[in-house]
Symmetry: C3
Subunit: 347 residues, 3 copies
């Protein structure tokens, strides 16, 4: 992960570029390149803090800060009213995690280890939670798309808030489940990294600085979306579903691939599925609540996002059901991702 | 189940109310409150008779009378031409069983017992039967909704009758499967309740009287649907998909929860999935045949019902696939149910 | 399989009929009856050659020639611009394999053997490949059907070629998987038939002659499609999705049923799922490439085909997930097939 550290150079470059009034498209690219290592740094800071806070608060911090980058980017996108970008980035984070990250991990791990196994029991709990969560999140949209538009009035916001509250309650209950009532299920990766590399003060300082910098770069990024979509002929939708999830999760993704190569598929799967769960149960509802400050955003995904979400969740459930993975499974997940990306790009 | 007995008081109240010409909305509420204990009584009567008839005929009686209440209510709804109510109550019975009953059972059972296990083999047979049955039942509707309406003529009835016949054949074959060719699979709950509480005569009398009373109350109920939907601003659809299944199955539901709390998840799952199967393979085709007496009803579900059915069946298959349940799984099933109900209510 | 040999008599009959200028409908029927035994002969020839070529090349030959009949029929259909027939025959081959062949095999096998088991591990690999492959193949169509038509321009061909290339790459990689990196998984049916019945020369001659005859008969068949659809009031779609897959695969189907009756469900499942995989990963992309010679065909399936494909793949995954089968499961697969066929016929 040395390369991530070197990428921090893009932060000062982006500030200079802002100072000399570079075009929004250039700012978009520089901000993207800056956010990637910053998200990694924030993740490291959170992990270090959790050594001092003990596993329970640490797990909660990891869960909550794990998607902070996406939350911050989406916050600025909401502020600018880019609802399409925000909603597609939720769906994009899920397919990115399940298809791109898990696919790459299974491929990289499978090339080194013939057949990789993982703890089916834990993954089963996560993947069925993901199924229920995605179904819950998608039902309002599924119903909406089957009603002729003129029969509908603007009661979406109410329904969106109800769904958001239910999702948050389940998120909190799932923390109760994994840290209290069923904590013995989740002991698989506790042996490693038992000592902190950093002092608590350093960890907190890194977390604070990286959060501030991500916020600034996210504003650069979001301001550049309109310009980059025009100059490259992309849709806002493509930016949301493909580019933003990759930018926000690149650091986490590389961790997953490294873990898979070390034959720790449990961790790789937990990153991919757990991260998707947090997006749906935590990030999505928080964004709906935040949107009430600006303009209320509905939870109504468009058909593309629905298909992408449902495909991702079906595949996650299938993949987890046999407790094994190999390189060909990885290739197939990547193939589905590329076909989705190509369809979005072309259509 | 003491409370169910006390609810029988609503039967004389409903008769008095009818006598003094109470409004249809009040009749709807009183009939609903009367049907709940009557359905429980009918179930008890059937079970008692099965002690005298032996397991095979008993199993058949249980299967067939288990949904008698729904059949009777639907009969009067069909007579009044309330097709929407009838069809949505079929879908509603399935989601009620899989999401509400099973969710409540898993939650109640899971709060008492950390992890509950069940016989994956039997549940697998039932849940894959449910998948095939729902797919078969939904295919005509799935095809219909994708054809532009003007290309379609009125050949639905023919197709509906074909599907109904196939469903009934599978129902009969499934009885052959469970009572003859593979009866050894189904021995899990035979040890308990080996003696009858009632005499055969009493059991038959209870069955006959409760059936007659349910028929009368069902007519009160159905006559009140139009009035209650208007006065409460509900759609007929909401009444069919949420209210009627709860009224018809409340007694059975409470049995399932009690069984789960006794750590008999096999029985709870068999009630939820088995009852859904009977709705699709037995009640739905019988209603199509009955409708031929009045106006032929097609098997074409609307998109809401399709989504609800498919969601329920996917979740049933997921839940049954690991042979275990816990309270969080129960919460998630209930959450999906509430999101569906809220969507129906709001949209 | 004696009856297949006797059916070869239809080859000279069809030539005589052509000579005396029989009507295209009669030619369709005679060609269909000739192709059935020829496809069986071609399969036998390929198997014999594989005894001389060793298992690796043999496996490749079997995989590639296994669907040669469908490829040849589709080639002539493409030449005549019958895109609907070609695309629906791809979907039809998959549902034919999964529902009709597997259903018949499970029923026939299950009537002789109470519960049949199969190697869940191998079938799991195939059935999850099938899930990924079908999702990949369907995504362009799923996205297209949710976009309003006027927003779309004619960039389908580009997307279709991208998907076709990805599918072919996965096909080649799956051969690498099963013949190199994970060949030890696939050793289940290597003990039997270790000696060739025919000389290598005879096997090659049979293969060449049957290929030529299939090509000629396919031209007769395709030329008769228009006439037979008119005279019997069928749609081209029905011919493609129901009739052509049965004609092209009848020989293979009977092998599957025979294997199931011998309690070799592994082989029966491998035929059904493996053959479906070859259709999607090999036949479909090759047809897209061939269509570039005539008029480019898009990969955009219609809604019926999508539903049929998705239903088939869900059922294949469900069926394979428990490692067991029985007669009732077979009946249910057949029931779904008949409901699909009846819906296509009536709608």
């Amino acid at each position: 992960m040395k390369i991530l550290k070197y990428m921090l150079i893009f932060i000062p470059i982006s500030f200079i570029a802002k100072f000399i009034n570079a075009s929004p498209s250039i700012m978009f690219v520089l901000a993207a390149l800056s956010i990637i290592p910053l998200a990694g740094l924030m993740g490291e800071g959170t992990e270090e803090i959790s050594f001092y806070s003990g596993p329970k608060i640490g797990g909660f911090l990891n869960g909550t800060f794990g998607n902070a980058t996406e939350l911050i980017i989406s916050f600025f996108a909401l502020k600018q009213g880019l609802f399409e970008v925000v909603k597609s980035s939720i769906a994009g984070a899920v397919i990115g995690n399940i298809l791109l990250v898990l696919g790459a991990s299974m491929l990289a791990g499978g090339l080194k280890h013939k057949t990789q196994t993982f703890n089916k029991k834990i993954v089963d709990v996560s993947s069925s939670m993901l199924l229920f969560a995605v179904i819950g999140l998608c039902i309002p949209a599924l119903f909406t798309h089957t009603v002729s538009p003129d029969l509908l009035n603007t009661r979406y916001e109410g329904l969106s808030i109800v769904v958001a509250i239910i999702m948050l309650i389940i998120y909190i209950l799932s923390l109760v489940f994994s840290f209290y009532t069923h904590k013995d299920l989740y002991t698989f990766n506790s042996e490693e990294n038992t000592t902190a590399k950093w002092s608590l003060n350093k960890a907190i300082a890194v977390l604070i600085v990286s959060t501030i910098l991500i916020a600034i770069e996210s504003e650069f990024l979001v301001s550049g979306i309109e310009s980059i979509t025009k100059s490259l002929g992309l849709s806002e939708f493509f930016v949301g579903i493909i580019l933003i999830p990759i930018i926000g999760n690149a650091a986490e993704h590389s961790t997953s691939v490294v873990m898979a190569m070390k034959n720790k598929m449990d961790v790789a799967l937990e990153i991919a599925i757990g991260s998707s769960l947090q997006i749906i149960l935590f990030v999505a509802p928080i964004l709906i609540f935040i949107s009430l400050i600006f303009t209320p955003m509905s939870i109504i995904f468009n058909e593309f996002e629905l298909i992408a979400l449902i495909v991702a969740v079906l595949i996650a459930n299938r993949v987890s059901s046999d407790g094994e993975s190999n390189w060909l499974e990885g290739v197939q997940l990547l193939a589905v991702y590329f076909i989705i990306a190509a369809s979005f790009f072309i259509l």
